[in-house]
């Protein structure tokens, strides 16, 4: 190996012995410092070409004499640097560089005698910047200097590329973070609006059944009104015999009370609020009343006249409920579903078919059991596991919200009860609701 090569390698090793924990700008700065010291030159400069024209250089590290000085920007035209960036290798002027570039004022002002520069490039070959070493004396060992400058230009180029990569990663990260934030905000908004919609749907579903019943009840009210209106007209006729007078007056009394009962029950049903305190209620009476009201409100006359009702509600069963109106709605909803299934099957037109509904309420030990069973169209096996899911419906669009059974199940569970459905398609559906009702003595204990 030649002496100069050996020397350059030693020199490179020496300069390169930088604290390896340094990185980026501080690493390059340290290299520049070491280059100036080891090579014993006055100026060491690292700069990058200003995009996009690359007609001038912005220095990033500028060593002059004893230390770093403020960075400068200079035009490339008529400077030895132009030759550096035009080629891809080292460009060296051992001495009298000012003679080669007479228009370069900076060389004159700084009293430069010798110049060596090497470019560093992007991986695709495009220029990033350059490393330049200048001195006020001629270079003594240009060959060695060339190796050293070429090596360190490459090393500094790597650092520049790494910095650029880090920078672009950072920008990507920032823009990703912003994107994530924006998306999160959008999702949160969408979620909030979904929650709102769900609330509305649940409240609509609660009202839907009540709405249907109200329609039926409104008609139901016309029957007592028919009698009240006409009986009071009779009362107004002259020469009414005492017997007829009493009959008419009695009817008015009787049917006003009946109309009042109907309205009271309807209002109880429509009540949406629930108490948060458990209260003991007479479940038998509540089911009797709501079933009676519901069946009265049936508007399908064919179903109403063909329906066979088997009602076995044991009297006097009490339950301790958190939300009695909720449970009443559940019950009506289940009965409403049964009637829907019965009507659907009846209207399939089989003459021998008798629509039948069985409703029972029984006291078991520690809990009571409500069953509602019908011999309607039933539920297909594939739908059965999902019928209590939110928004699950087999009804045509606009006819069901798919929330009825979901709400029912939630309501029963809120009251610490259990809710189950068994069914066979085209044969039957049976809903069993069990509600805890320990005896009042047990509760007190």
């Amino acid at each position: 190996m030649e002496v100069s090569t050996m020397q350059s390698l030693e020199l490179i090793k020496d300069i390169y012995n930088v604290d390896q924990l340094l990185s980026g700008k501080s690493y390059i700065q340290e290299l520049v410092h070491r280059l100036a010291k080891a090579l014993n030159v006055k100026y060491v400069m690292v700069g990058h070409a200003i995009e996009p024209e690359q007609k001038s250089i912005q220095t990033d590290f500028l060593w002059a004499g004893d230390g770093f000085v403020p960075n400068v920007v200079y035009e490339l035209a008529d400077t030895p640097c132009t030759h550096v960036i035009c080629g891809t290798r080292v460009n060296c002027y051992n001495s009298q560089v000012q003679l080669a570039f007479p228009k370069d004022r900076m060389l004159q002002d700084m009293n430069i005698e010798s110049y060596i520069g090497a470019p560093f490039l992007h991986t695709d070959g495009g220029l990033i910047g350059l490393l330049v070493i200048m001195d006020e004396h001629p270079f003594k060992n240009p060959a060695m200097l060339s190796s050293v400058v070429e090596f360190f230009a490459a090393r500094i180029g790597t650092e520049y590329r790494r910095l650029a990569a880090e920078d672009s990663l950072l920008r990507i990260k920032e823009s990703l973070e912003q994107l994530v934030q924006e998306r999160t905000a959008e999702l949160q908004q969408a979620f909030a609006s979904l929650q709102q919609t769900q609330k509305q749907l649940i409240s609509q579903e609660k009202l839907a059944t009540i709405g249907r019943i109200t329609f039926g009840i409104a008609h139901e009210l016309k029957n007592p009104l028919n009698i009240i209106i006409n009986a009071s007209e009779i009362l107004q006729t002259e020469d009414l015999d005492p017997d007829s007078f009493k009959k008419a007056a009695d009817m008015i009394q009787q049917h006003s009370l009946r109309a009042n009962d109907i309205i009271t029950n309807m209002l109880k049903q429509a009540r949406q609020e629930s108490s948060q305190q458990p209260e003991w209620i007479n479940l038998s009476a509540m089911l009797d009343r709501s079933l009676d009201m519901y069946l009265r409100s049936l508007t399908d006359t064919e179903l109403r006249s063909r329906l066979r009702k088997n009602i076995a509600i044991s009297p006097g069963i009490k339950a301790c409920l958190l939300d009695a109106p909720g449970i009443e709605r559940v019950f009506i909803n289940i009965v409403d579903n049964s009637l829907y299934a019965l009507a659907a099957k009846m209207h399939q037109g089989e003459n021998s078919y008798t629509p039948e509904i069985n409703v029972t309420l029984n006291q078991e030990s520690g809990f009571c059991r409500i069953t509602v069973r019908d011999n309607g169209i039933g539920i297909a096996l594939k739908h059965l596991p999902n019928v209590c899911d939110e928004f699950y419906t087999t009804k045509p669009a606009g006819e069901g919200t798919g929330l009825g059974l979901w709400i029912a199940k939630q309501n029963v569970e809120k009251n610490r009860g259990s809710f189950s459905i068994t069914s066979e398609e085209d044969v039957f559906t049976e809903v069993i609701i069990e509600l805890p009702n320990p005896t009042e003595l047990e509760v007190q204990a």
């Binding site: 009104l225 009698i227 007829s244 009787q254 508007t299 109403r304």
Partner: protein, 135 residues
């Protein structure tokens, strides 16, 4: 029609009070013998009565409710029109929707009164159709 032939008024409603009401409404004509009044709480007993009594065509009117358990007013209307075509049938119902009215007319009903029934209108309709005087 002979002016002195009594009109046979048959009312069917699952509510007994409707019978009492009609009877009160027509009490003077009933007392005078211008109207023969019959009330039934269900369609079956009405049909049994019609099968077991003599018909007086042209002076018989049947007023029926629609919404009744077991046999509805529609079914009664259908059967009466089949077996006793001489009897005019008027519906009296709380239903006031087109569907119920059209269904009744298709089954052959001669009139449709919605509840609350305007008895003055009902009476004048009967007076016009049958030439009886209802006071």
């Amino acid at each position: 029609m002979m002016a002195h032939e009594p009109l046979n008024v048959v009312v069917v409603d699952d509510e007994a009070s409707v019978g009492v009401l009609c009877e009160l409404r027509f009490r003077k004509s009933i007392q005078k013998g211008d109207v023969h009044f019959h009330f039934f709480e269900n369609a079956q007993s009405c049909l049994r009565y019609l099968e077991n009594s003599e018909r007086t065509p042209g002076s018989e009117v049947l007023l029926t409710d629609i919404n009744m358990p077991e046999v509805s007013g529609y079914d009664l209307l259908k059967k009466v029109k089949q077996k006793f075509p001489g009897i005019d049938v008027y519906m009296m119902s709380a239903y006031d929707d087109d569907l119920s009215i059209r269904k009744s007319l298709n089954l052959g009903a001669d009139g449709y009164f919605t509840k609350p029934v305007n008895y003055k209108e009902l009476a004048s309709r009967i007076e016009k159709d049958y030439g009886v005087h209802l006071t």
